[in-house]
């Protein structure tokens, strides 16, 4: 038997995957060949030296797994999982509609003729207005007219 094949059969013998017929043939080979015996002994030593490590997962692993499974199995989580694709689709549609509306409004409210005749860019700035109101309120409360930004 060639060395490569012999090695393969020895590995299969070790893992218990040789057929009875192959096993008989291997045993004949082992009784006839010193090389076969050395190879088998080498494989056995190798496996004997390497045993399962004593390293273990953290002691609270089981409770963490159980907690995760409890969360995963909650009925509301199951509902969310089922609804996820539907919700994603709805979000996409809403976004697309929003973008469409935004473009539509801009096109209708800022027609080229109106902008050209006005000569200025009309921009409604509610945040700016709110900030002004807030500044006025702070000034009124503090009782002087100092710039609040300098305080």
């Amino acid at each position: 038997m060639k060395t490569k094949k012999l090695e393969k059969w020895l590995l299969l013998e070790q893992s218990g995957e040789l057929s009875p017929r192959q096993l008989r043939r291997l045993n004949r080979e082992l009784s006839d060949s010193e090389e076969a015996r050395v190879l088998r002994s080498e494989l056995r030593r190798l496996k004997g030296v390497l045993l399962t490590p004593d390293i273990e997962p953290s002691p609270w692993t089981v409770s963490q797994i159980a907690a995760r499974l409890r969360v995963e199995n909650r009925p509301d989580m199951a509902l969310i999982r089922i609804l996820k694709p539907v919700l994603a689709l709805a979000a996409c549609l809403a976004l697309m509609l929003g973008i469409g509306n935004f473009h539509g409004e801009r096109a209708s409210s800022a027609s080229p003729g109106v902008v050209a005749s006005a000569g200025v860019d009309v921009w409604d700035d509610p945040i700016g207005e709110d900030l002004n109101n807030l500044e006025n309120l702070i000034v009124a409360i503090s009782g002087d007219s100092n710039d609040v930004m300098e305080m």
């Binding site: 299969l12 995957e17 030593r45 030296v49 390293i55 953290s58 797994i65 995963e72």
Partner: protein, 204 residues
């Protein structure tokens, strides 16, 4: 052509019963199952992850996925199935471009190389006298192997899976799994030539 573990129907029955009991609400069954397989599974995961924290995460994820997909478990070898889930999870992580640690890379917490830490604890009683050095060298030599060969080597030598089971995990033929193992063993033989023969003579 079955391994000793596959041939033990009691084990498989126990596992199926424990899984069923957990499903029926018996929380303790999960603990028994985790306890039963934690060492080989965690040892394997630790070899292919970036330290204990990540290994813990993967270990938990393996069990969560296993329990969630229990209906796919058909009373066969539970450990082999767990290894398959772990293999897939680790492949996913690698694809997300997390570089795998070499066994020579020092770990953050303990400071000594992972290879040394594992070798220090994975030697059997036979090896304690003269085999620690050999264990370290095997770890170091195995760390140089390509990931697929390394995986076959540890799944066979430590987890005691059959080549049929390993082939399933790696989604390849039994012959390919065998060839990977042969390559790994021949590389180790080359690397450890002198020392290994000495230990053989000494009967270690």
């Amino acid at each position: 052509m079955k391994t000793a573990r596959e041939n033990n129907p009691m084990d498989q029955e126990d596992d199926a019963e424990l899984l069923a009991a957990y499903r029926a609400g018996d929380g303790e069954s999960l603990g028994k199952l985790v306890e039963k397989y934690k060492r080989p599974l965690f040892g394997f995961i630790l070899r292919f992850s970036e330290g204990r924290e990540e290994a813990d995460e993967i270990f938990q994820e393996v069990w969560v996925r296993a329990i969630k997909n229990m209906n796919r478990y058909h009373h066969k070898n539970l450990l082999s199935w767990l290894f398959r889930i772990a293999h897939n999870l680790m492949i996913d992580r690698m694809r997300r471009s997390k570089p795998m640690l070499s066994l020579d890379t020092p770990m953050n917490t303990e400071g000594s190389p992972l290879g040394e830490q594992l070798a220090a604890v994975c030697l059997g009683p036979d090896g304690e006298a003269g085999g620690r050095e050999l264990g370290l060298r095997i770890e170091a030599a195995a760390a140089q192997l390509p990931a697929e060969q390394r995986e076959v080597f540890w799944l066979r030598m430590q987890a005691d899976l059959s080549f049929k089971e390993i082939a399933k995990i790696q989604k390849c033929s039994i012959n390919t799994a065998l060839a990977r193992m042969q390559y790994a063993v021949s590389k180790l033989r080359k690397e450890l030539a002198g020392e290994y023969r000495e230990l053989q003579k000494a009967g270690i």
